[in-house]
């Protein structure tokens, strides 16, 4: 039977040679290499649950009177988008679990992309010849963040509506074209009745299609260039070592898919997420407090909160305040990510091919810069909760904000210096792992 199937396709497409070499393909095994796969499998879960949701969601801002199964809101005037989200959650059997799994999958999707990005960065996997795949990866990160935002904005609840209002203001803050851009994207002045429909098409069609294309390119490049590998254990630049695709790697990877899906279902079943019925429907003159976005927007939210009350006004034109923490910061962040492989090659003069990964200690400067940058975004992330922190600690929010405004510069500097120092000591000590490094390796050696 199998023989006949193979023959059928080979006689028509001549694929046997490719199939053979594919089944034999060797994949290096390391737990850190699974992060990208986790992201991929989150994406699969997102597609599957997302398809289910589209069958019920109504992307319309038309106002209706809610008469569904959630009693506290019966009789309220809400948008049809909000109404259908409540129906999905309360009236469609298995609808709520699908919605919550979808939301959790999005959170984990972006988290695993970021973790994967860190793995690739700190192990130097982005170096020649893999710069192109790094670029594809960064693009997918941007798309994933965008799609997360557009997705949670769809239900038209009070929290996400406020997020959209801020997004409109940010678009409007772009120099020269900002006003036009905001009006074209939103289809008019905020709140426009067109935006939910547009977000829906972008969220369910355009961005997923782009992601499918980019994922294919990403994997094809990994396939063609072969995976990188950690040094040691006799590994060389000219070989790959590990189990073969068929059947070992395939089975383990499929197992990982089921494991990821299982955990996402557990999260979606047991841990409530985005309870839009508690936030209430969006009304432009109402606002929920405290208002925190999904985690991957936290750095932008934090930057908006920390940036001092500055704006530029000259010659009758204005650069509004949100331009700096939102547009400029995001632009610099992703520009920096895109350019990093080339900047590093230029700075170090290293233009050779690398198939063996580096350990962070082998490149203390890169690792220190990476750790410092990461800590910068972590501080911004926590700054997005300055109001909650102020409440818990019972201090004024201005004090918390002030501390963060200092920390956002001090913490990265300290983290960078400490990382550099530790990694240098680790490299000198020759210890195989960080935990095995003798303390005296930390002593500074003065030049004789």
């Amino acid at each position: 039977m199998i023989r006949r199937t193979f023959a059928f396709f080979d006689e028509r497409l001549g694929v046997s040679r490719f199939v053979r070499s594919s089944l034999d393909k060797v994949f290096p095994d390391h737990y850190a290499f699974l992060l990208g796969e986790v992201a991929l499998y989150c994406f699969v879960v997102l597609i599957l649950t997302g398809i289910f949701l589209t069958f019920f969601f109504s992307a319309s801002s038309t106002e209706v009177v809610y008469r569904g199964d959630y009693h506290p809101l019966v009789g309220a005037t809400v948008s049809d988008a909000y109404r259908s989200t409540l129906d999905l959650s309360f009236s469609v059997r298995a609808g709520l679990v699908m919605r919550q799994v979808h939301h959790w999958a999005a959170l984990v999707f972006i988290a695993s992309i970021v973790a994967h990005l860190c793995r690739v960065f700190f192990s130097g996997a982005f170096r020649k010849p893999r710069e192109l795949n790094w670029i594809v990866g960064v693009t997918m990160l941007i798309l994933a963040i965008f799609n997360g935002f557009s997705g949670y904005s769809l239900p038209d609840d009070l929290l996400s509506g406020t997020g959209l209002r801020i997004a409109f203001s940010i678009a409007q803050s772009v120099p020269v074209v900002g006003t036009w851009m905001a009006f074209l994207v939103f289809g008019g002045e905020f709140p426009s009745h067109r935006i939910i429909g547009r977000l829906f098409v972008t969220h369910t069609l355009i961005v997923p299609a782009l992601l499918v294309g980019l994922i294919s390119v990403h994997l094809a490049m990994v396939w063609h260039q072969k995976h990188t590998q950690f040094p040691g254990d006799g590994h060389t630049e000219d070989t790959v070592e590990g189990p073969k695709l068929w059947p070992t790697y395939a089975m383990k990877s499929l197992g990982l898919f089921f494991a990821v899906a299982a955990v996402l279902c557990l999260l979606g079943g047991l841990f409530q997420i985005n309870p839009v019925w508690l936030y209430g429907p969006y009304h432009a003159s109402q606002v929920s407090s405290p208002a925190q976005p999904d985690w991957y927007m936290g750095w932008l939210e934090g930057a908006l909160r920390l940036f001092p009350p500055w704006e530029v006004r000259a010659f009758g034109f204005e650069l509004p305040n949100p331009f700096f923490p939102a547009v400029l910061l995001a632009g610099l962040t992703f520009m920096g990510l895109y350019l990093w492989p080339f900047l590093e090659a230029w700075a170090t003069g290293d233009r050779s091919e690398h198939h063996l990964l580096a350990r962070p200690r082998d490149h203390p400067v890169r690792s220190a810069l990476g750790a410092a940058t990461l800590s910068f975004y972590v501080v911004l992330f926590f700054a997005a909760s300055n109001d909650l922190l102020a409440k818990w600690l019972k201090v004024r929010v201005t004090i918390i904000t002030g501390i963060f405004q200092v920390a956002v510069f001090v913490v990265p500097a300290v983290v960078g210096l400490v990382t550099h120092r530790l990694l240098r000591a680790l490299a000198r000590s020759g210890a195989p792992r960080f935990s095995e490094m003798p303390l005296r390796a930390l002593r500074v050696r003065r030049p004789a």
């Binding site: 709520l96 801020i166 009006f183 002045e189 189990p243 299982a262 432009a284 034109f317 949100p322 300055n386």
Partner: protein, 296 residues
Amino acid sequence: MTEPRPEPQPELAPSPTAARSPARPIALGFTVSMAASIGLGVVYALGGQVQLEGLLLFFALGGIAVGFIVWGGKLLPQGPYVQERHPLSSGEEEQEEATEVFEEGAESLERRRLLIRLLTGAFVALGAALVFPVRSLGERPGGSLFRTAWRRGSRVVDEHDKPVRPDDLAVGSVVTVFPAGNTDAADSQTLLIRLGPGQYRPRRGREGWAVGDVVAFSKVCTHAGCPVGLYEPDTHQLFCPCHQSVFNVVDGCEPRSGPATRPLPQLPLTVDADGYLVARSDYTEPIGPGFWNRDR
């Protein structure tokens, strides 16, 4: 070329614990999965319950995961197998040739200078023509960021379209108001606040914009447009919950802290013949967050 690596792998040597057949956890995983799937069917038929569905899905999928991972890790050949990496570059010669082939073709095109120019022109024109549909995406911003629905004589109404008299407000209270007939105009949302007697210090040129101790300010935050939702009567301060901008009502809603750079615009008020609050005019400056040509 794929071949097993010659030297033996110590960690692959059978250890006493591994001697227990890995087939058992695998079988257990698949069995648990089957049972959970059946359970899922039952829960669904009984009307569904989100926590149970999540839990059962976890076991249904997780059982298969355990089975696959243990199977792949314990029962299948681990290698490691060694495979050669092939050079990625096709070599300088090939690069040279590809360049040549391309340039040859390009040269034969370049001979037709005029046609190439016309082609470029056609593409540019087409590109420009394709911008027109983009223009349809939204209305022209025009003056809409400079105006709201408030007009001279617009009655001040609450969200239920009920007109408001100055005495309807207790000292220290605040209501969100709109121009009559426009309670859904997001840019016209306004805070009507009654201060204590004599607390209000009008800014120059704004004497007479308040009615008694009742003042009105735009509710749209000048930072990023959130509704400025919280009022603290003791300190006369308005808080924006989005990024914690604070505005001081008694001195014309100047920002006190947070990222907002400009005061909330003030709506000039008066009363009509029936004693209801009305606007003297629209806001005298654009409300809400800044934009490029705001000062024009």
